[in-house]
């Protein structure tokens, strides 16, 4: 009983971290049809910047703010200065450019922060455990789940209940028509890119105390976020949420039950879903 409860908790909390990445990846694709391979960079860069700031100032809040701000700036730079120069509707140049950024950020991070895995400290209040019935849970994991849920609800409310969200939905449906109805798709794209980058950075900062940050973490998390959006479907917030929960749980149970075959517990369901629905559970036709 305790074993299962723990595995479910770990799986769901990891799923919420993946959701923070996959939501941005999915929104960016939805509005701009850009597959952003540099999304993994945002995750590690957020964590590394936060690490440096927390070492200098001992303030986690300041560190989280700085990490998010730096990464958001990188995202805006990429969208406004680099990606706009590429031809629209061609996925390969975008993939190569964002992959180049992934390599650059990875190597510069290795240069600055070195090759040893490092962990962010967790806040004092959240270092305790919480007793829920017969089981004792680490409170930080509950916090991660809460943060993921809050982000999910916030994004849902933003998309379904606000004017900005209506514009985003219109742009996801058809960017040309949205532009014709007077929506400033250009500024909207920048905003969505910035939001996606900020969410990924938050994922790295919140995940930092659990998973640590190290060279190669960018590729690992990017790959899992890809599996999430392959399963859930690009451009769909609901898909990102369901996919993230599924991958988080599968990854965790896979590692706990069949460590040798951990990757298959993620990829076998992915292959199955692809065989039935090539655009994922909730994805629109590309």
């Amino acid at each position: 009983m305790t074993f299962w409860a723990f595995q479910v908790l770990n799986g769901v909390s990891f799923g919420m971290l993946l959701f923070l990445l996959a939501a941005g990846l999915s929104l960016i694709y939805g509005v701009m049809r850009i597959l952003n391979l540099a999304h993994g960079s945002y995750y590690v860069l957020g964590a590394y910047v936060a690490l440096s700031v927390v070492r200098a100032t001992e303030s986690l809040l300041l560190a989280a703010a700085a990490g998010t701000a730096v990464v958001t700036a990188v995202g805006i730079f990429m969208e406004r200065v680099l990606l706009r120069r590429l031809p629209r509707g061609e996925e390969l140049p975008q993939a190569l450019l964002t992959f180049g950024i992934l390599l650059i950020v990875g190597d510069v991070s290795l240069w600055i922060w070195g090759g040893t895995p490092q962990t962010l400290p967790r806040p004092e209040i959240l270092s305790q455990s919480v007793r829920l019935g017969p089981i004792v849970f680490p409170s930080y994991r509950l916090f991660v789940i809460g943060a993921g849920l809050a982000a999910g609800i916030g994004l849902w409310a933003l998309q379904e209940r606000t004017r900005l969200g209506a514009m985003v939905r219109a742009a996801i449906d058809d960017a040309e028509i949205a532009r014709a109805t007077g929506i400033d798709v250009s500024r909207l794209s920048t905003a969505v890119f910035a939001l996606g980058a900020a969410l990924a950075a938050l994922g790295g900062i919140i995940g930092g105390p659990l998973l640590g940050v190290y060279p190669g973490a960018d590729f690992e998390i990017l790959l899992l976020a890809f599996v999430v959006v392959i399963i859930g479907g690009l451009g769909s917030l609901k898909g990102a949420f369901v996919g993230a929960l599924l991958v988080g749980l599968l990854d965790n149970f896979g590692k706990a039950l069949f460590p040798e075959f951990a990757l298959f517990t993620i990829f076998a369901p992915m292959a199955l879903i692809l065989a039935v629905r090539p655009t994922g559970l909730f994805g629109a036709r590309p």
Binding site: L92, A95, L96, L97, F226, L263, A271, T279
Partner: protein, 309 residues
């Protein structure tokens, strides 16, 4: 004209070793092997318009199959090489079934995810593959051949023959009705369907063929290197193949081989001076996509065209 050029190229590459040190000869061998790899990706990317972020899978499967057989089972050139090609073909046949249902960005993600499964196996199954440390001690082919290829010069000629034959075979393929149909699919798949082509089957055959040729490059490489590690199944290696193709010019027969030569050369020179090769490689990706999307040959054509006009 093309035939004359090809003949001149082969003669030049045959005579080049006379002027090279053994180290430079090794580098040239590597360029040709990666050239075969890049040409294989070009078949699906340049001609059929199918981007893949997982092409290292077939290279790696070919290399690991030969490496494992030669080290642990039997060291026999023809047997091991054939098994390597077969394994690459089967992998491509399986991955193609899953991946080719998708288009565009989904295709990129799925090919990447599938190749990462193999990377995970090579990385995780230490008892079989040596994990992160890789699989060392693969001997140069000797058994099954009339003479040993341990000597660098003889091995170079083997690679040169394979390279030339591959280029010739791909030349025939892309000029055949099959190759023309691939280009048609790249330009307008819907129209080809309306014309009665089974476009899925064309893409699938091209995908498997590209996998086999990539496997061939992997087989040559493991003999060349004597060692294979998960790096050769990784996304970075897959993306390097992409950049070689784009750098030389996608959809041109020998452009990708040129791209491979440039990248191998740059990696060698830059790694000798700094540890920041990946940073430089990243900058190459960014600069190339922004400033020379049609590759080096396209850039040259643009300059000379400008001068002419």
């Amino acid at each position: 004209m093309t035939r004359l050029g090809a003949a001149a190229g082969v003669v030049a590459l045959s005579l080049l070793p006379l002027a090279l040190t053994s180290y430079q000869l090794g580098l040239l061998t590597k360029m040709l092997i990666f050239g075969v790899f890049a040409m294989s990706l070009n078949l699906i990317l340049g001609y059929a318009g199918l981007p893949s972020l997982g092409h290292a899978a077939y290279f790696g499967v070919g290399a690991y199959t030969v490496g494992l057989l030669a080290v642990k089972v039997v060291d026999h050139f023809w047997l091991d090489a054939a098994a390597g090609l077969l394994a690459a073909a089967l992998t491509a046949a399986l991955f193609g079934l899953l991946a080719l249902r998708a288009h565009g960005s989904y295709l990129l993600m799925i090919t990447l995810a599938l190749s990462q499964v193999l990377w995970g196996i090579a990385f995780g199954w230490r008892w079989l593959t040596g994990g992160d440390d890789g699989l060392p001690g693969v001997p140069r082919p000797a058994a099954g051949l009339p003479f040993s290829l341990a000597d660098g010069l003889r091995f170079y000629y083997l690679v040169l023959v394979v390279f030339a034959l591959t280029a010739a075979a791909l030349h025939v393929v892309v000029r055949s009705p099959f190759g023309r149909a691939l280009v048609g699919i790249r330009e307008n798949e819907r129209r080809m369907e309306v014309l009665g082509y089974d476009t899925w089957l064309y893409k699938y055959v091209a995908f498997v063929l590209a996998g086999v040729v990539a496997g061939l490059a992997g087989v040559l490489f493991v003999y060349y290197n004597g060692f294979v590690s998960p790096v050769y199944l990784s996304i970075v290696f897959s993306a390097t193949a992409l950049i070689m193709v784009i750098l030389g010019g996608a959809g041109t027969l020998l452009g990708p081989a040129l791209g491979s030569a440039v990248i191998v050369f740059l990696e060698n020179v830059i790694s000798a001076h700094t540890e920041r090769w990946l940073l430089v490689l990243g900058l190459i990706y960014v600069a190339l996509t922004l400033f020379a999307p049609e590759g080096l040959l396209g850039l040259v054509a643009r300059w000379t065209g400008r001068r002419a006009s």
